[in-house]
Every structure is written in structure tokens, then in C-alpha cells.
């Protein structure tokens, strides 16, 4: 049994977190973890930055470890528990406050002039401290067929002049009356990933004037998630489904259905911009102003330094190097993501002011509202996604929202408001 015990301990000690190489760095070598294994262009872009950086100086050497996106967050949590986080890692923007609160991330001491150039939604802050910086952003948009809008006598909305709630409603009625499409607007409800439901549909809640959590204190969701404005949003959503403007459960790829002519409009994002070219008369518009101004989500993957990093000087040096416009431009041109700085936009064809692709950058600057930067976010998003799914399925909106708000409040209380 003693032999057995020794074997067990040896096994426990040698067990490395998935993805190997530990955090800090001996001398000048450290590891970088990224979530985009399987995403050829994005991984190639990151690898290019790393190899250029390694070639540009001899003090530090960066090694890239790529993970598939679905397994990435679990890998980081496991590594954090065993204190083996890599020096540099990328994080999905809304989770940054949660990981900062948990002590995984170190404060980011980037020079102020670099930070000032970034699009606000590419900065991950918690309690006024910067923890992460993003190379790009993404934005939601209402894609439509211009022919369908013209036939219904509806104008094309622009960033300067978005639709009002009445215009939006009239557009829906007129397009439905024409009878040419299965659905007027495909909201993409067939994607059951919780984060899509929060990212894609909480902007409508916010446009009505409600929110996921009270952003003044971050200590309660009551009143914002289950108040009158939130009820107005819930009734609006159920109305869209009841009047058959949008399917209760769309196909798995809503944009493909739009391209194939099943719907006149689809709620998607900048990632679908290349596919829009398959539609002869496709246009993209901001969402309507449902009371508190049009709102879209903001914040995509961002880069930070782990708190256990032994070589923070080197890690910061790498991050500064990677923020050069020529590298940020790769993400824009190859992946159609929104440039994080104006310099990058100037370098990327089509994104300069009044350029053909400029829409998403202007829309993001004007309407983007990042998901609430609170460590409670993982709980908030799963609770809201479930509530939204139940509302879309036809449940009693008041009791669903009341339950969601009270669940969030209880979670906040049992965690001492996460240090808010």
C-alpha cells in the first residue's frame, strides 16, 4: 500500500494542465495561450506577430499554444487552479472582470498614448483598472435585401438616421404583407449558445431602457431586468414571434437562410459581412431605436497578462509590439473584424472614413454598449440567456424576469457583490 501511495502522489504531481508548458518563464522565454486553434487565419495572424517579435530582439522568446475555442475557458480555469497560467493569454471581453476579480490577471501598465488610441470597447477594465486590450472588435447589424425594403416603401436606415420603433414596426408589417418571404426578420433564435442570446438580444433590452444589471452600483438587477422597460422588451419580443415576423426557433444558420431567400432581414454581425456579398442587393443597417437609442454589443477577444507571470516586463513588451497598426490590420483584412484604432482603419482598404466597410466601425463608435463589466457576468449571462429563451418560448414574462432578477440578486449577495 505504501508503494501504491507513492505512485498516486507521483501521478498527482506530474499531472500538467492540458496544453503543457507552465507560466512564468525561465530567463526570457514565456508562453502565450490563444483560443483560436482551428481558426486558420486568426492563428496565422497571431503566429506572425510572435515570430516577428522573436526575430526583432533576443531578450525574450514567446511560444504559442493554441486551444480550440470550446475547450479554452475550461483549460484556463484548470490552469489557474493549479497556478500554471501562461504569461500571456487572450480572454473573451465580458469575462475579464470575473478573471480579474479571481486574481488570474495582472494589471496592464500600457503607455497611456497607446491606450488612448483604442476603441473603448476593446479595453477590458474593472474598477477603473485596465486588464486587457483587444486587437479588434465585432459588431451586430441588421442585414436586409434592399429590394424588399423598396417594395415595402421603407427607407434604408443609416448610422446617422436609424429607424424609430414605429418605422421598424411599419417595415415589418409591410414586408409581411408582400408575402414574398417565409419570415420578415430572422433573429437567429436557432443558435442555442447562451452567449449569443446575451450578446445578440440584450442590446434590444438595453435599447428599451432596461439592462442586465444596474450599472451604477453593480449590486442588483431588480428594477432594470424586471422593471417596466424590461417588460416592454419582453412583450415586444413575444409580439414579433406571435405575429410571425420572426421564427420562434430559426434554422441553425440564420444567415444562410437569409442568403437563400427565406427571410427579408436577418440579425447578425460583422462576421457575416463577406457572406452578404452573395446577396445581390444586400445592405446592412443599425438596429432600430426602441426608446433609449439603438444599441449593439461590444467587446471581443482581448489580451492580458496573468498574475503569476514571472516576466511581466517581457510580456508587456510583447503586447506593445503587437499593437502596431500593421499587425492589427491583418485581423481586419483577413477576418473582416473591426479595426481597434483609426491608424489601423487607415491602413486597411475599405475601412477609411466613408469607405465601403466603414459602417461597422462608425456603428460601433456610436452605439456599442459593452456587456456589463462585472465579475458576476458568467452568472448574469446564463441567467439572462435562459430567461430570454423561456420568454421566446412563450412563457409568462413577468414571472420569468422576476425570477431571473432575484436569482442574480441572490448570487450577488452570496458573493458580497464581488467586491463592488
Amino acid at each position: 500500500m505504501a508503494l501504491v501511495a507513492v505512485l498516486v502522489l507521483a501521478g498527482c504531481g506530474g499531472r500538467a494542465p492540458s496544453g503543457g508548458a507552465g507560466g512564468g518563464g525561465e530567463g526570457g522565454e514565456f508562453t502565450l495561450w490563444t483560443h483560436n486553434a482551428g481558426n486558420k487565419e486568426e492563428l496565422a495572424a497571431v503566429n506572425k506577430i510572435v515570430s516577428d517579435y522573436n526575430a526583432s530582439q533576443t531578450t525574450n522568446k514567446v511560444k504559442v499554444q493554441a486551444f480550440p475555442q470550446a475547450a479554452y475557458n475550461d483549460a484556463v480555469t484548470a490552469a489557474a487552479t493549479s497556478k500554471k497560467l501562461p504569461c500571456i493569454l487572450d480572454i473573451d471581453a465580458p469575462i475579464v472582470p470575473n478573471w480579474a476579480w479571481a486574481g488570474y490577471l495582472a494589471k496592464l501598465d500600457l503607455p497611456q498614448e497607446l491606450v488612448a488610441k483604442q476603441l473603448p470597447s476593446t479595453l477590458g477594465k474593472w474598477k477603473d483598472q485596465l486588464y486587457s486590450v483587444g486587437y479588434y472588435d465585432a459588431a451586430l447589424g441588421l442585414f436586409a435585401r434592399k429590394s424588399a425594403l423598396d417594395a415595402a416603401g421603407v427607407r434604408v436606415a443609416t448610422v446617422d438616421q436609424p429607424w424609430t420603433a414605429q418605422e421598424f414596426d411599419q417595415a415589418l408589417q409591410k414586408i409581411k404583407a408582400s408575402g414574398k418571404f417565409d419570415y420578415v426578420l430572422d433573429l437567429g433564435t436557432g443558435d442555442s449558445t447562451p452567449e449569443w442570446w446575451t450578446y445578440g438580444y440584450s442590446p434590444f433590452l438595453q435599447s428599451f431602457g432596461g439592462d442586465l444589471i444596474d450599472r451604477n452600483s453593480y449590486t442588483t438587477a431588480s428594477g432594470v431586468l424586471n422593471g417596466d422597460k424590461a417588460m416592454a422588451w419582453a412583450n415586444w419580443l413575444q409580439g414579433l414571434i406571435r405575429n410571425k415576423y420572426t421564427p420562434a426557433k430559426s434554422g441553425t444558420d440564420a444567415f444562410a437562410d437569409f442568403v437563400n431567400g427565406k427571410s427579408a432581414m436577418v440579425w447578425s454581425g460583422s462576421w457575416s459581412a463577406t457572406n452578404l456579398e452573395k446577396v445581390k442587393d444586400g445592405v446592412v443597417m443599425p438596429p432600430p431605436d426602441l426608446g433609449a437609442g439603438p444599441k449593439i454589443g461590444g467587446g471581443s477577444w482581448q489580451w492580458g497578462i496573468s498574475s503569476g507571470c514571472q516576466n511581466t516586463v517581457g510580456a508587456l513588451d510583447y503586447l506593445k509590439f503587437s499593437l502596431q497598426p500593421k499587425y492589427l490590420s491583418q485581423f481586419v483584412t483577413k477576418l473582416n473584424l473591426i479595426p481597434a484604432t483609426e491608424e489601423t482603419a487607415a491602413m486597411s482598404p475599405g475601412w477609411e472614413p466613408d469607405g465601403p466597410k466603414r459602417f461597422f466601425l462608425d456603428e460601433s463608435k456610436k452605439f456599442a454598449l459593452i456587456r456589463p463589466p462585472t465579475p458576476a457576468y458568467p452568472y448574469v449571462t446564463t441567467t439572462f440567456a435562459k430567461a430570454a429563451q423561456d420568454i421566446a418560448a412563450g412563457g409568462d414574462a413577468k414571472s420569468i424576469l422576476d425570477q431571473a432578477a432575484s436569482d442574480i440578486d441572490q448570487n450577488l449577495k452570496s458573493n458580497d457583490n464581488y467586491g463592488a
Binding site: 501504491v4 498516486v8 480555469t77 489557474a80 470575473n98 478573471w99 476579480w101 479571481a102 486574481g103 488570474y104 442555442s192 447562451p194 420562434a248 426557433k249 458568467p378 452568472y379 446564463t382 441567467t383 435562459k386 429563451q389 423561456d390 418560448a393 412563450g394 412563457g395 425570477q403 448570487n411 452570496s414 458573493n415
Partner: protein, 315 residues
């Protein structure tokens, strides 16, 4: 089944003394060998099963979270109070019991019917046996994804219903309909797992000696009486095993829900295990999920013990 006469050995006392003097050396060696043989499995069981289960039960009395800068502290029975006032838990429990109560008799019964059919000694029967078993070896996740497409409102299931009933039965969007979602999942689960229990029933059927059937036929019993008086009693052990295993499998329904409906629509398909996973990983509340797991464990244990008691050997 044969009756043997017990004849005490001659010189019984002498035999026992000889046995007692010979036993110690042999017994000790056997015990050591036995322990060594069992130790790898016991080690794996202890490290990967008993210790985590023990930790899980201990966590139910704390406020542990998946990601937190503060260590977990003991909170006593707070989690249990919260659990018993949680409407989602009661709904999940109701759905789990609903699923078990329907699936256990249906699946066991249907598997028995298939086993009886497949037990016939005709040529080509092995083909059918394999055919019924194929869904079992397919990953439940793959099966769930396939059936998710089939259950769409314009999917295969509705098309077949319309064709077979000449458009009288239109079918519905199965997985988005709160009343139809659970039955749809039950149907798919039974289809997937019935082959496994068919094979177990088959093995039970094949232990019944053929002479008993011949004797019954000679006595003038028809097929139904043969089943009732020869087959059914002969299947007692198999019956108990199948009952217990199907019940435990049915109560731990998770994979299909996770892939197909994520507990919806309107909590119609949320089960206890699904809720535990969602709370523990999605909402990062490890302690609350441990509470759910502990309560679930006690529930399943109670049900199994009751089943064992009711099916115990009498006399």
C-alpha cells in the same frame, strides 16, 4: 433445479481437523494474491470515484465556487434550504421522475418483446439482433444531433406522420412544444437503448433449459401459458437486474437534454443531472451543484434499495 441428497461425509470430524490444520498457510497466500489482483481496480476506484464523490458531498456544506479569490467556507445547511425552495429543482425532479416512470416499463417491456422475437431459431436471426443493437453502439450525442434534425417541424418525423396518416396528423415542432418535448426525447432514448436490454433479456432467456419447454408442450400448454409459467419465472434474476439498471440510467438523463433542448422549452425537459451540470459549470456555483448531486444520489440510492427489497428472494 435437480434435487440432491445431502449425505454427511464419513468421519466428518476428522475431515474438519485436517481442513483446519491445512487452511492457514493456503488461506493467507490466497488472500494476498486476491488483494494484489484487486488493488489496481480498487486504487482507480478510490482515486477517481470515491474521493471525488466524498469531496463533492463535503462541498455541499460550503459556499465553494468554481472561480473565486476567496477560499470556500462552511455554511451548513444553507444550500439545502435554497434547494428545497428552488422551483427549478422541483420541476427538474418532476421531469426526471416522469421520464423514469414511463421509460422503465416501456423500455424493459419492448426489449423483452424484441428478445423473444430474436430468440427464434430461424436463419438470418443474427442480422436482426445486430440491427437492433446498432443504435446502442452509436454515441448518444450523435444520435441526439440526428434526432434533433428529425424532430424539426419540417423534419423526417413529421413528414412520416403526414405520409402514414394521409395528412390527418400534422405533427408539431416537437422540441419547442412544452408538452411534446419530453415524450419526443423518451421515444428517442428508448429507441437508442432498447437493444442493450434486449441482449440482456436474451441471455436470460437462453439460460432457461429447453427441456422445460418440451415438458410444458407435452402437458398441453399454449404459447402464452408457456411464457407465463416457464419463461417469466425463469427470468427472475434478469428481471431484477434490468429493472435496477434501467431505473438508474433513466434517472440520470443528461446527454440528450444537453444536446437537444438545454432544459427547455420552459423547463419541460430539465432534469436533475442537467440542472446540476448547468449550475456547477455554467453558473460556476460548485457548492450548490454538489448539493443537487448529493440529494440526487440519496434519491437514486433509495429507489434502488426499495427495488431490491421488493424483488428480493423470498423464503
Amino acid at each position: 433445479m435437480a434435487v440432491t441428497q445431502e449425505v454427511p461425509p464419513k468421519g466428518g470430524l476428522r475431515t474438519s481437523t485436517r481442513a483446519t490444520t491445512r487452511k492457514p498457510a493456503g488461506r493467507g497466500h490466497e488472500t494476498l494474491m486476491g488483494t494484489l489482483m484487486v488493488s489496481p481496480a480498487m486504487l482507480l476506484l478510490i482515486v477517481f470515484f470515491f474521493i471525488p464523490v466524498g469531496l463533492c458531498f463535503a462541498l455541499a456544506f460550503t459556499n465553494a465556487r468554481l472561480i473565486s479569490p476567496e477560499p470556500a467556507t462552511l455554511v451548513g445547511l444553507e444550500n439545502f434550504q435554497r434547494l428545497f425552495q428552488d422551483p427549478l429543482f422541483w420541476r427538474s425532479l418532476r421531469n426526471t421522475v416522469y421520464f423514469a416512470v414511463v421509460v422503465v416499463p416501456l423500455q424493459a417491456g419492448f426489449a423483452l418483446v424484441l428478445a423473444l422475437l430474436v430468440n427464434a431459431k430461424i436463419r438470418g436471426i443474427n442480422f436482426f439482433r445486430t440491427l437492433y443493437f446498432v443504435p446502442v453502439v452509436t454515441s448518444i450525442v450523435v444520435v441526439s444531433i440526428l434526432w434533433k434534425f428529425m424532430y424539426q417541424s419540417d423534419g423526417l418525423v413529421n413528414n412520416m406522420l403526414q405520409t402514414l396518416t394521409f395528412n390527418v396528423v400534422q405533427g408539431t415542432d416537437w422540441l419547442s412544444n412544452p408538452t411534446a418535448a419530453m415524450p419526443a426525447i423518451m421515444f428517442m432514448s428508448i429507441w437508442q437503448a432498447v437493444g442493450f436490454h434486449m441482449v440482456i433479456w436474451l441471455s436470460g432467456l437462453q439460460t432457461i433449459p429447453g427441456e422445460l419447454y418440451e415438458a410444458a408442450e407435452l402437458d398441453g400448454a399454449d404459447k402464452w401459458q408457456q411464457f407465463r409459467y416457464v419463461t417469466w419465472p425463469g427470468l427472475k434474476a434478469t428481471r431484477t437486474f434490468i429493472l435496477v439498471t434501467i431505473t438508474i440510467a433513466a434517472l440520470s438523463l443528461f446527454a440528450q437534454i444537453n444536446v437537444m433542448t438545454q432544459g427547455g422549452p420552459l423547463d419541460a425537459t430539465s432534469t436533475v443531472v442537467f440542472q446540476a451540470v448547468r449550475v456547477g459549470y455554467g453558473q460556476q456555483e460548485t457548492a450548490y451543484a454538489s448539493t443537487i448531486s448529493l440529494v440526487f444520489f440519496v434519491l437514486v440510492l433509495t429507489v434502488s434499495l426499495v427495488q431490491r427489497y421488493l424483488t428480493r428472494e423470498r423464503g
